[in-house]
């Protein structure tokens, strides 16, 4: 590489580093911009790091859906409906940034609910738990002789419910619940009633038979009513719960993790402190052992940290404790590459090579080792990422990102810095370099 090309590349690396740093820490620049009040210069985007539940506090809930009554084909739809209902509920509770997702594990279907920063987790769980499971059933075709007909599930569930209202039967003043389906639900209801004229359709809530009226004619408006033996209060509660969403499938809480917000904050502070100490320790070590070369390794480390943080912020990577752990570990591995190179350079210099030659040989001969060591770690990280557990995923992701960027910073940035000194008087002072 020619001297001038080297200078240009170095300038690019420096600009990249500064740009990343500014994006990661936009505060001071934006304050200056606001102070100067120049209209045409846009402010830098203020964006926060995305923190995992373990760092900001919150709740991670896993529900198992009972899909035994649903055909294999319809499961995906039902799960999607389930997800929507729960999401609506959680949003109603005022949790921002809640993530509700479905997950398949072998034969079972799961619903994962992540509630960041919820102060009152119990209430949130209770809220989800109170979601009624509404289901319409029809008479079983092979069971017509017995006086107590048994019922089988139909497609019509709480998934298609648009709204529920409370009303009173005119003659007896008994409370009843009026249901209104959405268009899709109305179509299913019509089909269902057509098929079951002079038969009974049963309405189940939370697997309990509420009422089983006989169908007189096909109902097309998408409206149904439940007349049970409710007290007024029971009917009111039911309406409220149905309006907040009725489940298409019954669910059961099978695992949960709650982290208090203070605990999350403490974890964040501690892990960041660990990261700082780690970084400072490494810089000191590099300066003491490799002097001037070490100094440039540290400069590259800044480039490395700036790019990594910038990626974390803008991809964005959800930072968890494990993720920060992986990031910190990758700092240790990032300088590994530089150590390999410097040790090799030392050897070449001992053999009598000049500065430039030893620089070239050091970088080129250390490369296979650097490549292999990062490759093995990446390989394991990829396997770990497929594992699924969030701790492992966070760790594997930040570690792999860190390793990839470290290859760039150690192989490319450090070399650019050191190349500047080729042909200067400083290059001959061996003690300075290694």
């Amino acid at each position: 590489m020619t001297k001038s090309a080297n200078k240009i590349y170095l300038a690019v690396v420096l600009c990249l580093t500064v740009a990343c740093l500014l994006l990661v820490f936009p505060g001071p620049v934006n304050r200056v911009l606001s102070y100067l009040n120049i209209g045409f210069i846009p402010h830098l985007p203020e964006k926060n790091f995305k923190l995992g539940l373990d760092l900001q506090g919150g709740s991670h809930l896993v529900y198992e859906a009972d899909v035994s009554q649903v055909e294999l084909k319809g499961r995906k739809d039902s799960m999607q409906g389930l997800r929507d209902v729960i999401e609506r509920r959680v949003n109603m509770f005022g949790v921002t940034e809640a993530v509700v997702s479905t997950q398949q594990a072998g034969d079972s279907e799961r619903l994962v609910v992540e509630l960041p920063g919820v102060k009152d987790i119990n209430k949130a769980i209770e809220m989800i738990g109170k979601t009624p499971y509404l289901e319409f059933k029809e008479e079983s075709p092979n069971n017509t002789t017995s006086s107590e007909p048994s019922f089988v599930s139909t497609k019509l569930t709480g998934q298609y419910l648009k709204k529920a209202t409370l009303s009173f039967e005119q003659s007896t003043m008994a409370s009843e619940v009026l249901l209104e389906f959405n268009d899709e639900g109305a179509a299913i209801f019509k089909e269902l009633t057509e098929k079951n004229i002079n038969k009974r359709i049963a309405i189940y809530i939370d697997n309990v038979l509420i009422s089983a009226p006989v169908v007189r004619e096909a109902i097309s408006g998408g409206k149904a009513q439940i007349t049970g033996t409710f007290s007024v209060q029971e009917a009111k509660d039911l309406v409220r719960n149905l309006n907040a969403g009725a489940l298409p499938l019954p669910i059961k809480l099978i695992s949960q993790t709650n982290i208090g917000p203070t605990l999350g904050l403490v974890s964040l502070q501690q892990s960041l402190r660990a990261a700082w100490f780690g970084l400072i320790g490494i810089c000191l070590f590099m300066l003491v052992f490799y002097r001037f070369s070490g100094f440039f390794a540290c400069l590259s480390l800044i480039t490395y940290a700036a790019i990594l943080l910038c990626l974390f912020k803008f991809i964005p990577v959800t930072l968890t404790l494990a993720g920060i752990g992986g990031g910190v570990l990758s700092v240790g591995m990032a300088v590994d590459a530089n150590i390999l190179i410097f040790e090799r350079m030392k050897e070449e210099r001992k053999k009598g090579e000049n500065f430039q030659k030893s620089l070239e040989l050091g970088f080129s001969r250390a490369w296979p080792s650097i490549r292999d060591s990062n490759l093995t770690t990446l390989l394991i990280a990829v396997i770990m990422f497929g594992f699924g557990s969030s701790f492992v995923k966070g760790f594997a992701l930040t570690l792999s990102l860190g390793i990839l960027i470290s290859m760039f910073s150690a192989m490319f940035a450090t070399k650019l810095w050191m190349n500047i000194f080729v042909g200067t008087r400083l290059e001959n002072i061996k003690k300075l370099w290694l």
């Binding site: 102060k119 099978i254 605990l263 780690g278 240790g332 150590i339 396997i383 492992v392």
Partner: protein, 306 residues
């Protein structure tokens, strides 16, 4: 130049003693699996002042009839309770009982329930991941060493690399069995993650030394095999020690300042990386020499046909 090959029996003995101790520790104390594998619940709270004494907490929780409750006091203020899966209401009951003993800091609690189904699933998943990792490492070794076959067959390098790997995994596991007995440390997902990372690290550490042996073999002018190995070890020593040292530095930072959750994770990595470095220098490469020499001897007695 340090002659590693000359003293290799001492290094073997040292490693052997550690491995036997680690296995004994695992047999005697057993590995405590975390609740993510066994199913159960963990409630952790932090008191504003000094945590109450263990007996008092036990008395309170016993009154609730929750089955067996393991109570641990961690540090000055933290109390950890482990028991079978409990409901949200059950948790509230316990919290009330704990509040009665002293003021609890709000927002600093953590609560986790893992159903037995999930536990079983995670166990199976872990087995698969460990298996896949081992497999990929084997493939990696096979590819890296397909070219060297003189004077030692390439499988010998692979074999000793795996021996070193086992060494680096068994010793931390032994330490964790012992810690499990006395400090309640458990084999959790973070520990598994740490040990998987050690897989990659350890094998790679050995491979770097092997690489140098290979390079020196190509350049050699008839030196004996053990001289070449010794020279290679001396050349890579600085590199091995220094690269591990930087990683150990950051791990120490996590261990000391990173808080409770990451503590055992950092410890597992620290042990793995530390012994990984040791084994790459003192076990893997030296074993290659030992195997080479024993085959030489046999070869002398029974000249190869052909």
């Amino acid at each position: 130049m340090i002659s590693f090959t000359k003293y290799r029996k001492i290094f073997y003995a040292f490693s052997l003693v550690l491995i036997i101790a680690a296995i004994a520790s695992m047999v005697i104390f057993g590995l405590r699996l975390g609740i993510e594998f066994t199913g159960g619940s963990v409630l952790e709270v932090k008191y504003k002042q000094q945590a109450p004494v263990l007996e008092n907490i036990k008395k309170q929780t016993d009154a609730l009839n929750l089955g067996e409750v393991a109570v641990q006091v961690a540090g000055e203020q933290r109390v950890i309770l482990k028991m079978k899966p409990i409901s949200e209401a059950g948790k509230e009951n316990i919290l009330q009982k704990l509040e009665a003993l002293g003021e609890i800091e709000k927002g600093s609690e953590s609560f986790q329930v893992i159903g037995p189904v999930i536990g079983k699933e995670l166990k199976n998943k872990t087995k698969i991941v460990v298996f896949l990792s081992l497999l990929s490492i084997l493939v990696y070794i096979a590819i890296s060493f397909r070219k060297i076959s003189r004077p030692v067959k390439s499988w010998v390098y692979g074999f000793t690399g795996i021996v070193a790997l086992c060494h680096d995994i068994i010793i931390p596991l032994g330490v964790f069995a012992w810690l499990g007995r006395y400090l309640g440390a458990e084999i959790t997902i973070p520990i598994i993650t740490a040990l998987l990372t050690v897989f990659g690290y350890s094998i790679n550490d050995s491979v770097v030394v092997f690489d140098r042996i290979r390079e020196n073999l190509f350049k050699s002018k008839g030196e004996s095999f053990d001289t070449i190995v010794d020279a290679s070890l001396n050349q890579t020593l600085g590199r091995s020690v220094n690269t591990s040292f930087t990683v150990i530095l950051v791990l120490l930072a996590i261990l000391l300042f990173g808080g409770n959750t990451l503590r055992y994770f950092a410890l597992a990595l620290l042990l793995g990386v530390g012994f990984g470095t040791y084994s790459s220098i003192f076990v893997a490469s030296l074993l290659v020499v030992t195997i080479f020499e024993s085959r030489e001897k046999r070869g002398l007695k029974r000249p190869r046909r052909g």
